[in-house]
Each structure stands twice: as structure tokens, then as C-alpha cells.
Symmetry: D2
Subunit: 509 residues, 4 copies
């Protein structure tokens, strides 16, 4: 059995196979597992991300688990919560306003406005703000330039908050944000705009983790909320370290499939924060397997064990990927009402063949009581293993190599194509010596590839890197692949249409 730092709990990462649009229940599983561990008499604690209003009013409901595996007070956590995301939005936009104000009042630095890719942000799914032209109206209204808004979950300030270790580090990181290039080709960073202190002021309370509890009383830190497709997808290092320091078993989650959130959890968050994860719980569902087995999204309910079988290669690829980080895995099949015993059997049998422990999780319906089997298997695997976490790549490698390694090893790509813009960005990265930063790849969550249409376990595909942004404050670069966008849009029938509140303040979702 491996040794851990004295007084530190074991860190369990909950990740998932490539999900359906509705999600496979990672948060429900994380909460249920913590409750299951508690039922075994073990001291557990959870560290999760804060929900974003964008998807809540867009595609799906809240992000606080479900059924008997929920955080409380769910409604308030989902709506504004303690205001952290709004504070991040304000701090981010203060810098953006300061940049345009700097350009307006004489532009002493000689910053070329066309090189500024630091967008503004809003915690909203708002397609129309993706590509905009600002500063119109003439001499007293600004300087025209092309820009846009991202969702707050993709803000570099969000990433900085999630990766920082304290206020001083926070301000230093904020001042390192890459703003753009001067007409002479030098770089301009946020520090020269003079508002890092003021941004820190706006983040005064946001830097503090928020403590809530589950339905069954397990403590949970909910802090920071980057998405895993367009950002690094993990809750804050500060909160995760608190959880590890306070409990014997700390459960955390990384967004979307293992290829997205988990890869970034290991290669970015664990390395930035010196975290030592012990085991991965991979969430699978019969529905997702049926989708990868070729069923249409509206036909996932009827039983179809053959489709489940056909979808298994997706799960297998993620299990292979876990091995590349040196860690043991346990599969949790998150049970849905429509699942049949035959379907569940298909999954657990294959896991057995692969030598991976598997458990059918019933956290939604039964709370911790439905998760003790999983909890036992996780504890058994974690304590039995002498595996050690190892990152996928060395930060000192060239950026191209790091991207290619993730794309080929984790996504299964054949080749990585860099657009002309991406090649220019690589040259800028080299010029200003950002080569040793890890890569936080923006990629669709709907496929292992960068093409959302390719389900199952795609092969022989090319990953196209459209551009590479520099997030020097967060401490990574962001290769943007395929057609992924950092500001989501609302669907034709957004969730907001179904929401209401009555005169007493009771909300219906």
C-alpha cells in the first residue's frame, strides 16, 4: 500500500465516459459515494464546482446532484449562490474595460487593439455576444475593434481563482494575464493596466470556499466553476486541499468525459496544486452506452442490450486512458429507471473481463444506502493499490508535442492539424517563452474527437487546432479545436421557458 502525506486523506476523482447531452450523473455519484463512505463509518468530504447560470437557464436544470444524493440548499446553490461567479464576472470585465479605456485615453503602451483576445464574460448562454464589434459611435465613444463575450465559466479569472493558493498569488496571476501585442511586437500583460489590486478587491469573498452539506449531512465544499470543454473543468485547489486535509476520503469531480475534465485535472490541477489522486471512479450509464452503440438520442429509453454492447468501446477507451495516469479505476454504472438487468449485466460482465471492479450505483433513488457497494469497492481498490499517479506529459515539452500527445494518446487521433492562426500563436508562445505551460484543450464534450458527430470510439480522425490562446495568469495555453465555442447559445426551447416563481417565492423549474 502506498504512503500518503501525514494527515492527508485519499483523493478520489469521479469522471465519466463520453456523456449524453443530459449528463451521466457524475455529481449525483460523487455525492452518493461520499454518503456511501459515511455509511461505512468513514470520514468523507466532497469538493465540487459551483453551478453556472448559463446551462441552468439553457439546457438543463441545476448542478447539485439529484434525488437522494443532493447538496442543500440546492435552489440557492444553483441561483447566484454566494455570488462568486458574479464577482468573477465583475473582476474579469473590469480588466476588459480597463484595456479599452487604456486604448481610448491615448494608448500609451502602443497596444495593437487587433491583437487583444481577452474577451468580456457573462454568466449567460448568449450566442449573439460571441462575435461583436465594440467601441463604435465616433471619437468620444471608443476605438472600434472586433471582440466578443465568453461565458464566465471560461473566464481566465475563473481559472485563476480555481488554481490559486491565496490572495498574493491571485493578484500576481491576475497581473500576468496576457493582453496582446504592441505595434512593435512586444507583449502587454494585465499588470500594466493597473487594476490587479482592484480585481483582487472584487474577489475578496470569492476566493473563500463555500461550505454546504449533502442531504445526509456530508460536508461539501462548492468553489469555482470552470467548464471542462472550454476551460479546465475542476473546482478550486483551495477547496480540494481543504477536503483532503479535513477527511480521510475526499471526493472531487472533473467535468464531462474523462478525456476532457480528468485529463486536465491530472495534467493541470494536480500538478499546479501538488495533489496526489488515489483512484478514479468512472461513471457509465446504459443510456450513454446505447447512444454510442448507435441509438438516436430520443430512443435511449427502450431496452436494447445489443446497443449497450456496441457502445462499450467508448467506455473501454476511457478505462485505457485512466491507466495512462497510473491509477486504479472503479466503474460506477449510474442506474436509471429505464435500465434493465440484462443491460446492466452487459456492462458489469465486460468490466469483469477487463479486471475492473464495477458497481451499479443507486445514489439517486436510495442515497448513501444505494452506494455502499461502490464505496466498498473504491476503498478496497484504493487501499490495495500501490499505483502512483503520473502525468501524461512533461510540461517542458514543446507545446505542439503536448497537444499531439493528448490528442493521440487520450482522444485517439491520427494527426493534429494546426491552422495558420494556430501556427502564428505557436510562434507568439515561443517568442514570449510560454512554452513550458501545460495545454488546456478546448474540445467538444460530445465525442472523444473534436467532431461532435463521431460517437463510440472514433479512429483515424484529424484534430484541427484553430487557434491557441495564452492564459498566462491561469498558467496554461488553450488550444481551441474543431468548432468549439467559448460562449454557448440557448436552444430553441431553453429551460428558462419552464421556470416560474409564485408570490410566496416558491420556484418551479
Amino acid at each position: 500500500m502506498r504512503r500518503r502525506s501525514k494527515g492527508q486523506g485519499r483523493l478520489i476523482l469521479v469522471s465519466a465516459m463520453t456523456p449524453t447531452p443530459a449528463g451521466e450523473g457524475k455529481t449525483t455519484t460523487s455525492i452518493g459515494l461520499a454518503q456511501g463512505l459515511a455509511r461505512l463509518g468513514l470520514k468523507s468530504c466532497i469538493a465540487l464546482r459551483e453551478p453556472s447560470l448559463g446551462p441552468i437557464f439553457g439546457m438543463k436544470g441545476g448542478a447539485t446532484g439529484g434525488g437522494y444524493s443532493q447538496l442543500l440548499p440546492a435552489e440557492d446553490i444553483n441561483l447566484h449562490f454566494t455570488g462568486d461567479l458574479h464577482a468573477i464576472t465583475s473582476a474579469h470585465n473590469l480588466l476588459a474595460a480597463a484595456i479599452d479605456n487604456h486604448i481610448y485615453w491615448g494608448n500609451r503602451s502602443g497596444l495593437d487593439p487587433r491583437t487583444v483576445r481577452f474577451h468580456r464574460v457573462l454568466d449567460m448562454n448568449d450566442r449573439a455576444l460571441r462575435n461583436i464589434i465594440i467601441g463604435l459611435g465616433g471619437r468620444t465613444q471608443g476605438v472600434p475593434r472586433e471582440s466578443g463575450f465568453d461565458i464566465t465559466a471560461a473566464s481566465e479569472v475563473m481559472a485563476i481563482l480555481a488554481l490559486t493558493e491565496g490572495r498574493e498569488d491571485l493578484k500576481e496571476r491576475l497581473s500576468r494575464i496576457f493582453v496582446g501585442l504592441t505595434y512593435d511586437g512586444d507583449q502587454v500583460t494585465a499588470g500594466s493596466m493597473g487594476v490587479s489590486g482592484a480585481m483582487g478587491v472584487l474577489l475578496k469573498h470569492a476566493i473563500r470556499p463555500n461550505l454546504v452539506q449533502t442531504l445526509e449531512g456530508v460536508p461539501a465544499f462548492v468553489h469555482a466553476g470552470p467548464f471542462a470543454n472550454i476551460a479546465h473543468g475542476c473546482n478550486s485547489i483551495i477547496a480540494t486541499k481543504m477536503a483532503v486535509g479535513l477527511a480521510d476520503w475526499a471526493i472531487t469531480e472533473a467535468g464531462f468525459g474523462f478525456d476532457l475534465g480528468a485529463e486536465k485535472f491530472f495534467d493541470i490541477k494536480c500538478r499546479h496544486g501538488g495533489l496526489d489522486p488515489a483512484i478514479v471512479v468512472l461513471v457509465a450509464t446504459c443510456r450513454a452506452l446505447k447512444m454510442h452503440g448507435g441509438k438516436k438520442k430520443k430512443d435511449l429509453d427502450p431496452p436494447d442490450p445489443d446497443a449497450v454492447e456496441r457502445g462499450l468501446p467508448n467506455l473501454e477507451k476511457h478505462l485505457e486512458n485512466i491507466g495512462k495516469f497510473g491509477l486504479p479505476a472503479v466503474v460506477c454504472v449510474n442506474r436509471f429507471p429505464s435500465d434493465t438487468p440484462e443491460e446492466l449485466e452487459v456492462v458489469t460482465r465486460r468490466c469483469g473481463q477487463l479486471g475492473v471492479p464495477a458497481s451499479v450505483g443507486e445514489g439517486f433513488l436510495r442515497g448513501g444506502a444505494g452506494m455502499t457497494d461502490l464505496a466498498e469497492k473504491v476503498v478496497a481498490s484504493a487501499t490495495a493499490s500501490d499505483a502512483h499517479f503520473k502525468p501524461l506529459y512533461d510540461w517542458s515539452w514543446p507545446v505542439e508535442k503536448k497537444i499531439q500527445t493528448v490528442a493521440k494518446e487520450i482522444y485517439g487521433a491520427e494527426f493534429v492539424d494546426f491552422s495558420p492562426q494556430a501556427r502564428k500563436d505557436l510562434a507568439t508562445i515561443r517568442k514570449f517563452d510560454y512554452c513550458s505551460l501545460p495545454v488546456c484543450i478546448a474540445k467538444t464534450q460530445n465525442s472523444l474527437s473534436d467532431n461532435p458527430e463521431l460517437l463510440g470510439r472514433p479512429k483515424d480522425f484529424v484534430v484541427t487546432v484553430r487557434e491557441i490562446q495564452i492564459a498566462a495568469g491561469a498558467g496554461f495555453v488553450i488550444p481551441i479545436t474543431g468548432e468549439i465555442l467559448r460562449m454557448p447559445g440557448l436552444p430553441a426551447e431553453p429551460a428558462a421557458l419552464r421556470m416560474d416563481i409564485d408570490r410566496m417565492g416558491n420556484i418551479t423549474w
Copy 2:
């Protein structure tokens, strides 16, 4: 003595002469007066507006009073507070996103995007967002159109929150927001976008007044925060009514000079809310009088009683205006360290000549103890008077006449010029029967006129109405005059440059 509703306190409005950019201390005076009343053994309560981050990081510090007449905890009230402004921003922008989403997904209503003047908002001074083009990038990114951002303090949702009486009324007002015209010339209102319920959800907590206290323990409601130059400038009706219901003397404030906030307080807020104000305290300062007397803004400190004398016509015009609403006035000369006895004497002497009680207020330096003289004079005037509040105009008048009445009676204008756009807007107002709404004129705070250069008591000037927006949810129309903009910009050296926070979380402003 006039009769009041049973169990209702008297409502004191604190307003001011035309201010300097730094402000004349209305909030400090309001708080000090409440403390002074308390020192006289009277039961007092305050109802104020919530601060906006825009000016805090732009021109000036906080908005919680100063010295010994402050609200506590000042820092937290100034920074995010309970998140109300962020909730308003989110609710407002949800509607904006829903509108563009409606256009994007087929535009079933036939809404002509060029007629949509419902902007997005941010609680930030951000000049570059005033005039923007959104929806760029091609077929999957939106529909291109010209739009912009206003500051949250100018949001119609803010105005609605400030004027509503409860959740049901809130949702109804939200659904009445005027969105634009169809290609066939019909109107489209927010209700047809289907998100009024969801907006109400986002405002679940924001509708509740926030209760804090002054340094000397007087209760204060701080709720809603519209500006008085680009919005109606008053805190919420709900909070004001609570104050009137809970104390014998309720003090509230209206933004900027009497011509802006107070006129709207009387003609919009009091009439929407059925409020019955008893008296006006008009704040003056020697500095402001010297500015109106022709001194440059950087030369206001050195003593100059002649300049004070020359500035008096501005004060006199505001006093005349108070009379037009049927109410008694008391002048409070808010003392600054640089004031000399000669200068103060100039003001009090003239007030004496005019028969208006005047008092030198020292709330900043001495708290309630420095305001008891004012408190006594206010109580004496209010209880002695049998004056009755009467509005300036009748809502049933045509919109042009209402605008002309305010411009001529209150501002002192010779003539009101309507631009071609304004004339088109008047036609739209008539067509859809918004004629009986009161007028919430957007005008510079730096002059009685719509030209910020004209100090003192300008005469023979023309007020130009550039456009007239319809705020059907708030319940008024917004004539926009001169070159006033509903999104401020940052100055060359914004206040944000001087702010910092240390590792322990201590803030320096």
C-alpha cells in the same frame, strides 16, 4: 398641521443643488439627519439606494455616506453587497439573450431586429460597450444587429424592482417591457419571449429589501439603485414604505440635483407608490456654490465668499422648484473643512432673506451630534406646515407637454426641440397608447440644462430630445436629452487604479 395615514411616519426627501463631480453629501446628510433625529429621541429610519460598482471603480469611492455618518458594513455594501445588482443584471440579460435567441430560431413573431432598443447591461463603466454590433460570425452565430450595453443602474429591470409592490406585480411588469416592432408594425413585449417567470426566479432574493444600520445604530434599508441622470434615481418603493411604516421619521434620498432625482421622486415614485412626502431637505455646499459662481473645479478650496454669492442663483432655482411641488424646504449646508465662516454666512443669510430655514450640517465630522440643529428645524417645519404635496404635471397630458413642462418649469428651458427620431418615437408612443405614462428624462447632472457646460442658473437655452424610449414595464417613457449616455465611461485615471487588497483581505481604496 396636516393629517397623515394612521401609523405612518413622515417622509423626508433629501435632495441637493446642482452638484460638483464629487457630490455634495446627500447620503452623509441623510444618515446624519436620521442620527440627529434619533438624538432628539425621535424614531427614525433611512431608505437608501444600493451602490453601483461602476462609479465606485470609476470616479469616486463608495456610496454609504462618510465620516461619522456612515452605513455599516460600508465595504461590503459597496462591494457586491447582497448581490442584488448582479441578480438584476442576470435577469435583464436573460431577456436580452432570449430576444436574440428568438430571432435566431426562426423569429416567429416577425420582430424587426432593427427596432429593438432593449440593450444588455453590466454593472461597470465601460465606454466601449455603448455602441456595438452583435450576432456576427455567420449563419450559426446569430443575426447581426446594432445594439449596446447600458449600466445596470439604467436597466429597466432595476426600475421595475424599485417601483414594484410584490412578486406578481414584478412579473407582470417584466412581461410588459417593450421590446420592439414587428415588420408589420405591431409591438412585441417581453411577455412573448416567455422568460418573465425565469427573470422572477433570478430576482427571488433581490426583491427583498436589505436592512443595515448606521454607525450610531439607526436602521437603514438599502434597496435598488437606479441613477438619477439616466434613470429615475430613487430607492425602492417597498423599502421606502417599510421605513415609513416602521418609524415616525423616514428619510430617503433622490439622486443628483433636485431637477433630476427629486422631480422623478415626486412625479414617478410617489405617484406610482402612493407616497406622501412631507418636506424636502436641500443640500448645498460652499464648494458647489463657488463652482456655479465661476470658479474652476480645481480651485474650489481657497475661500472666496464672492464666488459663493455668485453661485446662489443655482440654489435659489432649486428652492423655487421645491415650491412647485407644494412642500416646505430646509437647506442643509454640508460643511467641508475648507469652508470659512464668511462663506457659510453668505448662504445662511440668503436663505434667511428667502424665508427658508437653513442649518450648517456637520454629520461627517460629528455624526448625529452635528445634525441636531438641522433635525430640529426639519421637525419644526414639517409639523408646522399644512402644505400638501402636489405633482408637477398630470399623467394624462400628452407626452410632449409633460416633457415641455418639466423642461421649462424645472430646468428653466426656453424651448424643447424634438429630433426626427424623437418625433418617430412620439408617434410610436401614441400608436401603442403609452401616452399616459410619466416622463423620466435622461439629462446631464452637471447643469440645470441639458448642456453640462452651462453652470449657475442657465436661461434661454433649448433642451434637445434625441430619442424617447418606452419603459412600459417600469411605467414611464425616457426622453433622452443632449448628449447624455446611459453607459458611463472610465476616466483617464479611474479609481480602480488606487485600490488594493492585502493577503489578509484588508482593502485600501
Copy 3:
């Protein structure tokens, strides 16, 4: 009888009352009059403007007269002709491209792109190009700024060509074109862009007048083509001088009503070119009079002598205006098939009462033979008169006064309102000493006022000056009034829809 320069013919200006959209036949009248003079045995010559493709494909057909008073070859004159307008378009746009190229390649002059109001031009009615944003696409594609296209007839290069005396003067004027302001507030003129020589190269042939003839063999110079509503509306000085030098009676025309083209002809063209006009022929039609008498545009055909009578004040105002320039007038009632003797009688009787000779012109139907009466009256009046041309205003007056004089004296306005932008433009004009330039007011052709809805002889109206452009190369400033736009749009059913060409090259209009 007044004396003329030796060897110089008399110069007759043909102008008109406020026209209907189809025009009243000034060109037909000019050509017919020249043919009429020739039938009297007098040596006559015509100097007209070149047609623009914009209106030809937009609202109406060609601009070469009609019926038996036409220029030949009409089709080729209307279509590209000798390419002069295309050469002007190219020269103009070369400067525009050079300006943006200058900004792109380092902007050594420090030109603030937001101050550049030198648009590009096309000889096309193209509404969508009025307001555009150019230079988008990032660092290698330009510098984003707001701009637009005007129609070539409004190009300053067109005006320069029309007002120049030769190649050297042409190049000097081109180099004086006002481009914009530097960030430091200095002016930038076209000379510093270095392309005045190249522009002169592009205008190598365009500077030469084009000689054609009428159906009856009278020589006609057709050269330069500014519109009279958005430019100065006269053909070139070079061509006019040739006509005066070659014939005893030279006929020229100024666009739209007397208030537009003729005022500019006198105050700009005659003064720039040292021309000495002898007499004005004012074209009227029963149709236009009926329109000014209150008939709808689609009801102008049926006889209605009362409506003609009611429309006379428009004609009278123009006749008064002619007197203000010190010249005799002859009215030509251009006969249409629908005119009745009663209607024609109404006009000629009133002219008789006013002491103004009048003649019914039948140039369209009968060529020169139908115009000898007019020719005789013109000769009689011109030779009898000892009147001398005098301009309306002194160029040395302030610009405001010049604008007010034209607006009040010629248009009949009560008051001139200058927008904030116009006031800034006046300050710029003063700063760079363009005060002594004459004013070339852009105004709707559909009314004596700046509001196209006001027919007849409007009174008590305000003229609003929206902005004032500096055309330093042309040698005037351009106050833009009302909502007039310098780029026309196509109607819902443009004339282009009805045009065709067969396989042999025969054109149908």
C-alpha cells in the same frame, strides 16, 4: 443694356420650381431653348451635366432630354458615356484606399481614423453602403473603422472636376481635400497621402469636356455631373466657359429647384469661375403646381385649375428668389399632354400679374419649333435688361451667417438649428480657417424646406444642420440638413427591372 466681355456670349441659366419626383423637364427645356434660338438664326450652345447611372437604374430613365429636344446619342450618353464618372470614381477611391493604407502601414501622420469622413463612392444607388464598418478581419486585414459610400455625383472629386480650371489647379485642389484630424488635433489633407498626381493621371481624359449635339444639330458640352441636393449641382466651369466663348447664347442648367441648384450656381460656380449670367429661365409645370396645390402624386393627370392656382405660391417664391440675385426671369411652362388650356392660363395669367414674361414650351413634342416664343422672350428680356448679377452673400461672412442667409432668404426658414456635431464642425472650420468658403447646403429636393413633406411655400419651419463637412478641395463646406443622405437607395421596383438588351444589342428601357 449691360456690357459683356468681348467675344463672350450671354449665359442663360435654366432652373425650375420645386419638382415632382419625375422632374419638370429642365434638360428638355434647355435643349429646346437652344434649338429655338437656333431657329431664330442665333448662335447657341449648351453646357449640361453628365448623367449618373444611379438614378438611371433607380428612379427614372436617362438625363438627355426627351422627345424632339434630346441629345444624341442618348443611349450612350446615359450608359457610361466617355467613362468620366468611372474615372472620377476611381480617382476618389484611390485616395480613400491610400488613406486606409496609410493607417494600416503605421499611420505615421497620427491620423485619428474616427475623424475621417472622406467616404468611398460608387455610381450606384446602394442604400446598404451608406453606413458600413471597414477594415475587419484582424491584424493583416486593416484597421476597423466606421465609414460609408456616397454616390459618385456627391464625390468631392466630382465637384473639383466641375470647378477646376485646368490640370495644375486640379492637382492642387485634390491635394487640399480635407481628410481628418490627428490625435493631436492637427488637420491632415490629401496631399500628405501622396496620390494627387496619380489621381490626376486617372482623370487625364475626364478633365476634357465631351462634345455632342442635339437632334437639331446644336452643339452641346456634357461634362461633370454633381447632384444639386447633395452636391453643387452644376456642370463644369471649363465646359460652360467653352460654351460662352463659342456661341452668342450659352444655355446651362442647375439641378432640381432654384433653391438648390441655382443658388449654388450663383454663389459657388459663378463666383469660382468668374461667370456672368444674364437671365434665368424658370421651368414650371401644371403637374408640379397641382402637387404643391395639394394633389397626390398619383392624381396629377386629371385637370384641376384650382389646384394649379393653389400651387402658385411655390412658383412665386422661386421668382422672388431670382430677384435676390439681381437677374431678370422668364417662366417656361413645360407642356405635358395632360395639361388643359385653363390650367396653362392660370400660370401665364399670374406671371403677367407679376410682370414676368411667360411662355408655354413645347420642346418635347415639337423641338425648336415649339420653343421660338420662349427664345424670343428670353432674348428680349436679356437684351433689354441692365440688371447685374449679384451673389446672395459675401464669402467673408461667418459660416453660420451664410447658412442662415440661404436658409432664411431662399428657403424661407424661420430659424436654423445646429446639432452638437454641427457645432463641433463649425469649431473645426474656424480652427483651420475654412471660414471664408461658400456653403453648399445638402437638402431635400422635394421641398423648399429640409422636410420633404412640406409642399407649396412652407413657412415658420426650422432648418436643422446635422453636420458640416469640409470640402476644401472643391472650395466649399457642406452643411447637411434634415435627413438628406448622400447615397440614394433603390425603390422597391427599380427602373433596372424593366431594362433589357437583345442579342443584337438593342436596348429597351
Copy 4:
């Protein structure tokens, strides 16, 4: 010897190796060769393209040959000429204006403005017009959308004029221009805009070839002027057929290197026009060879036979390519003053080794007399050969295959990458059955590849297809590769800066 149609001359195509920015003298060679043939007593005729003002005022001087191998009158041919390009610009922009006018007046067709890729055009190098937003300013000014300008040489109307056989065909082709898609996904073509007839009217004279002559009196048709990098690069079929019909030896030219103009000449023009080319003259220069041999562009003058040698693979690749069309080749080394005998010897020796006749051309210095050797070799090869022209690909192949064939066979590419946009465009092409159109690839002229940096004979490169436009009227699709743009920009020191004209009209370039 092969048979020709009775009464038809032999058609000689002059093409070139990959050129330097100044060009290798194809036009000079074409004219010189025609003059050389005439000196041999043979009846020759030339068919060339019309110059564009864009490059004339941008990078280089005229396009009428040079020295003693020139067209007359060179100056007028280079400046506006007969106005054909302006007529094409007008016709093109009339359609563009009609499209936006259609959208403005109710958009009855349901055309989605975001799908319209039919740009406007100007005969000008104007970078700032590449990407623009039009239709701004509100409800009466248009409908906002993203668009741009191309140079007239890239206009589809230009291509149509160059490929048409007569007026009826011209109008039909104009009406087939692909405009965009409706909201329902149907296509909209120009015919439904109703202005094809009017466009034909504007092109009345432009459809007729222009006849000029060389310095030595050889007749030359100069007609139509598409560029070869961004269009199909050949003069008109009408003019070429006239030349073939009137002379025994007709010489024509295709733009830039053989990979661009010649490939399109064969696969598009010859096939559309039923032309039967007999032989190719490939122009090479020592300067270009030195550049491909690694010398910098400013160091091409000093002798360096080794660099010439190193540059030969570029020439060889073009010679190989000629073979793929089944035709014999003759190399003409166009002599420059700086060439040394050793350098020339390097080229002719290698041609000898390859069995390709080669001749040093001295048309510039000596006119036809310096080209008789080339003329003899061309006649000998053409009459001796029984080769038959064959196209590279079959029009019935899928578009992807046609692109891949050109890219691999002619450019030497390893692989063709289609961007997401290009893949969407392919789907549109399939949907509306444009699959059988030939491909007119837009590609940099500076390299055999789509990357202008790769000189010599690049290998192992990927060609990236960014988008594919449909030119249904011209009869081809336009795959756009690399970063090629269809609107050139001016250099930092454009040629326009050096141009002037004196008072007598003498031009200096």
C-alpha cells in the same frame, strides 16, 4: 501532323514558371513571339487580357508588354481603356445592390442574408474593403450583414464575360449566378432579382473585343481581365476565337505560373470554348530561377549560375505539368540585362537534357527581331507534333476528386485538407447539383503550393481548402486555398506615389 478545323489557326499558349513579384515577361514574350512570327512571314494575331487598375496603382506598372514588344497605345490601354472593367464593376454592383434592395423591401424570397457570399467589386487594391459590415444605421438604412469587396478581376461577371459566347448566353449566365440560400435551405439565383437584363445593358459595349496593335503592327485583341490566382486568368473566349479565326498563329496568355493560369486555361476555358491549343511556350528567367534557388528577392541581379541551377526543379515541375495536358513545350528564357551567358547556358543546357527546345528571347530589347529563333522553334515543334490536347480531369468527377487531382498532379501536394466550411460548401454543391462544374482554384501565385513561402519545387505539403464558392454563372466552383484573398492590398509604398501628370497631360509612371 494533327488536323485542325478548316480555316482555323494554331493556338499557342504562353505561360511561365513560378514568377517573381515583378513577373517574368509573359506579355512581352507573347507580343515578341507574335512579332517574330510576323518577321518569318507568318500571319499572327494576339489575344490578351485587359489590365486592372488595382495592380497598376499598387505593385507594378502596366500590363501591355515592354520595350520593343508592346501594345499601343500603352498608356490608354492601362488607364480605363475602353471602360470594360468599369462596365463590369457597374453590372456586378448593380446585382449586389439589387440583392440588398430585395432584402430591404420585404425579402419576399426568404433569402438568408448570412448566406450571401456575392461580394461587391472595385477595380482597386483596397485592403480595408475585404471584410466589412453593411446596411447599418437603422430601419431605413438597410439590413446589417457581413460582406466585402473583391477586386473586379475576381468578379464572377468578369469570368462570365470572358467565357460567354454572346449576349443571350451572357444574360443566361448572369441569371444563373448563385446568390445564397433561403431560410428554408433552397437556393436563390440572380435571375430572381430581375436585373440580368439591366446588367446586359451595362455590358452592351464591354462584350465586344477591343482591337489594338503591337509596336510592329501585329493585331491584338485585348478583352476581359480575370486574375489567375483568384479567378481563371484568361482573356475572353470571343477574342481568342476571333484570333484563331483570323490568323494562322494565334498567341494567347494565361496568368501567373503554369499551375494557375494554364491549368485553368486548359480545364476551364478550352473546354468551355471548345478550343484546341497546339503548343505551350513556357517563359523562364534567370532571376526567377535564382529566387527559387534560394536568393533573396533583392539579390537577384548579381550573377550566380549555381543559384540558377538550384532553381531548375521549379521549371522542371512546370514542364512535367505541360506533358500532363498532352502538349509539346518550348522554353523561352526571357533575357534581362543582368543575365550572364553562363546563367543562360545553365537553363538551355538542362532543357536540352530534357529534350525541350529552348530559346533566349530578346523581345524587350529587339522586338520581333529578337524572337525569330523562338518563333522558328515553336513553329517546328507545333507542326512536327501529333500530340493532342487532353484535359487533366473529367468534369463529371466529384468536386473533391477534381481538387485533389489538380493539387496532387499539378501542385505536387501530398494531401488536401477541407475545412469545416469547405465541407459544408461541398454539401451545398451536391445538394444543388453543381458537382459537374470544373474547379477554379484560388491559390497564391508565389509558390506551387498554397503557402507563398515555399519556393522551388515544394513536396510533402498539405493544401488547405478554406471554402468553396459557387460561380454557377461562370460555370465553375472556386475552392479557396491557404490564405489567398480575393481583394489585394496596397503595399507600404504603392506605385501610385510615383505617378504624375503635367499640365499638358503627359504622364510619368
